[in-house]
């Protein structure tokens, strides 16, 4: 994602080790998650993550369209990640592009790794992710929103899927880059974690890292995922606050 008229690299890291928005290297941007904002979907979630705004909806399990995708022993998980035309600085032409299709595929496969799809043979679980406002890290924000939406839709799964990207800022490993950092980034490493097993079900990487940096990045990313996991759970608890656990009315 190149920026218009970018001329020189701004100071991305202060002498005190703070980033352009005042964060430390291991600090996430503010995250706000709302479970169930939509009325038509079986499950939904809205995520505001830094300057990202992402809506996700889940329909299903339901009859498979097109029918030839039907699998006899389990549900198919179909994911559509899409960016609104106005979600980026330069208007994005509506419709499918290769980047969106690749992201849709790896997100669908991440969910296939945790959803108990064999409980719903010959059905489809459709996951829709709409990026309304983008500021680096939209695939992770979309994955987090979709995961909360899947739980909201009552889909059985091993665990929620927190996700975050690790990158490099001024040569240092940093958690959760925002756009200004990403534009001059030397590496991007998005990942999604299954907290229950400690394993990664989405992992991509682009850029330059030494094996040591990669190892450090994975550790940092996993810690970030665990923080995001708590926010995801809090959002679902807020929507389904149980009468018995709340105590007072």
């Amino acid at each position: 994602m190149g920026s218009v008229g970018a001329k020189e690299v701004p100071v991305l890291l202060s002498p005190e080790g703070l980033r352009i928005d005042g964060r430390r290297l291991d600090e996430l941007r503010p995250i706000k998650i709302e479970a169930g904002p939509l009325h038509q979907a079986d499950g939904s979630a809205f995520v505001e993550w830094g300057a990202n705004k992402v809506m996700a909806a889940v329909y299903g399990p339901r009859e498979v369209h097109p029918r030839h995708l039907q699998q006899n022993n389990k549900a198919v998980i179909q994911c559509k990640y899409n960016m609104a035309a106005f979600s980026v600085d330069e208007r994005k032409r509506p419709g499918l592009d290769r980047r969106s299709q690749e992201i849709s595929k790896v997100i669908a496969e991440a969910f296939e790794s945790v959803v108990f799809a064999e409980e719903f043979p010959r059905t489809s679980i459709d996951v829709y992710i709409e990026v309304l406002q983008a500021n680096a890290g939209t695939r992770c924000a979309g994955l987090v929103a979709a995961s909360v939406a899947l739980a909201d839709a009552g889909i059985p799964m091993v665990d929620l899927l927190p996700a975050v990207a690790v990158g490099k800022v001024a040569g240092r490993i940093a958690l959760d880059l925002k756009k200004e950092e990403d534009n001059f980034g030397e590496a991007d490493l998005p990942m999604a974690l299954v907290p229950q097993s400690g394993r990664l079900v989405l992992l991509q990487m682009e850029g330059h890292m030494t094996p040591e940096e990669l190892s450090q990045s994975l550790d940092l990313g996993v810690r970030g995922c665990r923080d995001i996991y708590e926010k995801m759970k809090a959002a679902l608890r807020a929507r389904y606050s149980a009468p018995s656990s709340g105590g007072a009315a």
Binding site: V4, Q40, A51, H65, Y128
Partner: protein, 262 residues
Amino acid sequence: MSEGVATEILTTHILDLAADGKRLDGRGPDEYRPVSVEPGFVVTADGSALARLGDTAVLAGIKLEPGKPFPDTPNAGVLTTNAELIPLSSPVFEPGPPQPGAIEVSRVVDRAIRAAETIDLTRLVVTPGEKTWVCYVDMHVLDHGGNLIDAASLAALTALTHATVPAKRFEVGESDYPLDVQHFPVECTYVRLGDTIVVDPTFDEEGAAQGRLTVATDETGRVVAMQKGLVGAFSPDDVKEVVRRSFAHGDRLRAIARGSPA
């Protein structure tokens, strides 16, 4: 959570209620659902608004980019509207190329914006015949609870009203400036349920409707666009009545779009 199958007895019930001037959700025939707008919802857009009519939510985003005028209108800027009925918003929408429904929503909204001369297109021109601003109005349906046209129109007008021309970013001018909006068209949609005509139909009411009629009015008292849709018919007297009622609703919706208290 329908899969697009309208239940016959629900349709019959809606029609029975309408015969007594009643509606499923307790509204009167000439009453809108709660209306709200949230301008500036998307900061990556040059103007934006999330509009809600009850359970229906439509997000509109404006993008302005320098481009070339059309050869036959060298002194006019370019306005493009596009609606996306994304499958996130309803179980009845499938992924794929734009469906006729989406195209109708964008064209009906486009017609009102254009005919009302909401934006003076000549003022978008930078160099006649060579360079002009291209104004994109993209409407994203997020939650389809019925009456997409009014929600999209309200979102689009609110977004335009709050839009900024990014002159500095594209090095066309010294600084950004507000988009000049000179008229304020809004659409009001009615459906016929038997002999009763109701405003702002829900998804279920649209399923039961025997015809839909949309009237766009502006603040100067003009009717600027109309669209009859769905299967069904309206008498000329019906149309006159709908036009009359559209002005009263239009004034209230305009006030909401412009951010002044209704």
